[in-house]
Amino acid sequence: MSKKTTVKAGSKPAAKKAAKPTAKTAVKTSKKTARKDNFGGLSEDILLRMHDLMVKSRVLEERLIKIYKAGEAYFWIGGPGEEAFGVPLGMLARKGQGPEYDWFHLHYRCTPTLLALGMNMIDSIRLIMNRSTDPSTGGRNFANHYCFPQWNVAPVTSPIEVQYPIACGTAHVQKRAGKKALSIVTGGDAGTAEGDFASALILASRKGQELPVLITVQNNKFGISTPFEGQHGETNIADRAKAFNIRSRVINGNDPVETYLAIQEEMEYIRKTGKPSFIEAHVSRLYGHSSADGANKKAHLVDPVVVFENRLLDAGILTEKAIKKIWEIYEAEGIAAQEQARQEPVPTGESVWDHVFVGNENADWRKF
């Protein structure tokens, strides 16, 4: 079951049908390049699914920015630029509910991972438009503060870095369950200054009590406006893991192939040994920090979707036409989803008292 889920993880590649027939003809013209770039041995199916999900994620995030800029949302924060890291992460995890499946303790740049797990575009749009139909928070929380218990996706929290030691808690439960599941945690480079980051390194690595956690940092070189050099003395954040005897590596998180292979390897190591592993991924923060700093595209940065797309094109795995089609399909899906979400209900004022406590008992002290 679990193996199957691993392979099949991710939403249906909508573009596959469109891509296949034309791809064949393209292979002929670019055979040479194709041979040069063997994509780490990844199958064409995986490559196409990665590309498809990366595009889907980019289109969705750009839609979210448009929704924000049109005044239909109060705040935007998200993950354009992190597709090459987030998509393989979601594809490789063991997806399901309960301690025998992997847990996700993600931050707000995790849309690619959620889409790879199977989230529908509209559910992200419902969240940013604070509809009561938003499955994550019921219209209560910010953009990309996802929560999907059916896939062990822990609620994204606004306080930076608290997700790291919480991940050690679910990893502890998974270790006890003995099913070789692991807890995955993601976060930004600036956040590693918080004590909670150190807490997680300590909790995950105690001798004889190591925990199955995949600790990751997406290093986009910035806090909101504080550059990497303004906060860090260490050369690589991953070096900090070494002090705790945690196996660690730095990867190019803008390359989905390198990322896929690295995550796969580290996940296998964790499942085999029950010990933690650490990945620092260098990524682009393509639209700045959030709507707080304008959410405008930074043209000078590497765009992982474009780069990967060109590679697939060069290798003859995709054609211009197929690519165009994929973007169009998702663009249309995003627009339709926005239109639908617009029609959907918003939370009522009285609902503030719902879910203060389980069963909604004792919520309002005036009623004790």
Binding site: G98, P99, W103, D134, S136, T137, G138, R140, N141, H145, C147, P149, A154, P155, T157, P159, V162, Y164, P165, I166, A167, C168, G169, T170, A171, H172, V173, Q174, R176, S183, G195, D196, S199, A200, I202, L203, R206, D354, H355, V356, F357, V358, G359, E361, N362, W365, F368
Partner: protein, 351 residues
């Protein structure tokens, strides 16, 4: 009779044996010490965490999220302050996820003055805790309640803060815990780790039974007609003492042991005030801003025309800390004579 520390230990044993508790953890909670107040000695699921309060609370949240029951300890409430945003997150997780993620976890921590613990071992946390929506908060005053409230806390699907008075840890009650041997010495021999030659020691647990003190239900420890005194934890004993003394003068004091800070037993407070027309709220957290103030506010709003005197709050002085010398501590948190004076004042007030 069991002490409060022994009662907690027995409740935790009951919890890990019968209620699915899988982890009892915190600084020095596991072997060899079993907690700085011995409340976790001999428990099979007890383990030592790193010296990291934020790590402890986060771990507890992760364990609860992962579907297991745990009881985490912060060694002294004085050190829980650096976890406050995590407590806030634990309290808001159910709400933020629109009811999807429950965090059934218990955090216990010793609170308050009374042991001359000076600035960093005398903090109260009840007023702070009352501002953590989503949490239930309990504060037992005796071993039987300590046992019953711990079982209630473990059973509850919400996060529960279990605030145990440092000064009451050795306090013995006058009621047996169901299953507890009547002979104190026998109990000690069964469940207290020997001070010497404790190598290989294992407790022999009595055949304990389920006994739940429902969260949110207070208890009248002295009934009276002239004034209602609402208190909890250590202060219950001081108030009872004053009530007994004043009874001899014909001043009849009703003492309510609230037992739970949130939710609190308003119906008990209300019917008592309706009877006496006078009320004093006593606790040892600092007076600005105090949980007793909320209760006094509510009493004023809902019972204004039944009151014969202004409601009063007697609490710890609004100071940066509690000094080590007894003169300092005693002039910082309510003492028996302060309570007596306050009661006399409210009773003497004529509308």
């Amino acid at each position: 009779m069991a002490s409060v520390a022994q009662a907690i230990r027995m409740a935790l044993h009951y919890g890990e044996t019968n209620m699915g508790v899988k982890d009892i953890f915190g600084q020095d909670v596991g072997a060899p010490l079993g907690g700085v107040f011995t409340a976790t000695q001999g428990l099979k699921t007890a383990w030592n965490s790193p010296l990291d309060e934020r790590g402890i609370i986060s771990m507890a949240m992760g364990i609860a999220m992962g579907g297991d029951r745990c009881v985490a300890e912060i060694q002294f409430a004085d050190y829980i302050f650096n976890t406050i945003d995590l407590l806030k997150i634990a309290g808001n997780t159910l709400w933020c996820t629109n009811g999807q993620i429950q965090l059934p976890m218990v955090v216990m921590t010793p609170v308050g003055a009374g042991i001359f613990g000076s600035v960093y071992h005398s903090h109260s946390f009840d007023a702070w805790a009352s501002r953590l929506p989503g949490w239930k908060i309990v504060m037992p005053s005796n071993p039987l309640d300590a046992y019953g409230l711990m079982l209630a806390a473990i059973q509850d699907p919400n996060p529960v803060l279990y605030l145990k008075s440092k000064a009451l840890m050795r306090h013995k009650g006058d009621e047996l815990i169901p299953g507890e041997p009547a002979d104190e010495k026998e109990l000690k021999a069964m469940i207290d780790k020997p001070v010497q030659n404790s190598e290989g020691w294992k407790p022999r647990w009595p055949g304990l039974e389920e006994y739940i003190v429902p969260i949110g239900k207070g208890k009248i420890t002295r009934s009276g007609e002239h004034i209602t005194v609402v208190t909890y934890s250590r202060m219950v004993h001081l108030c009872d003492e004053v009530a007994d003394k004043l009874a001899q003068e014909g001043i009849s004091v009703e003492v309510i042991d609230l037992r739970s800070i949130y939710p609190y037993d308003w119906q008990m407070i209300k019917s008592s005030i309706e009877k006496t027309g006078r009320v004093l709220f006593v606790n040892e957290d600092t007076e600005v801003t105090n949980f007793g103030e909320h209760l006094a506010y509510r009493a004023t709003q809902e019972l204004f025309y039944q009151l014969m005197a202004r409601p009063r709050v007697l609490a710890g002085k609004n100071l940066p800390g509690i000094g080590l010398h007894p003169n300092l501590e005693k002039n910082s948190v309510p003492q028996v004579h302060d309570i007596e004076l306050a009661i006399r004042e409210v009773v003497a007030e004529v509308p």
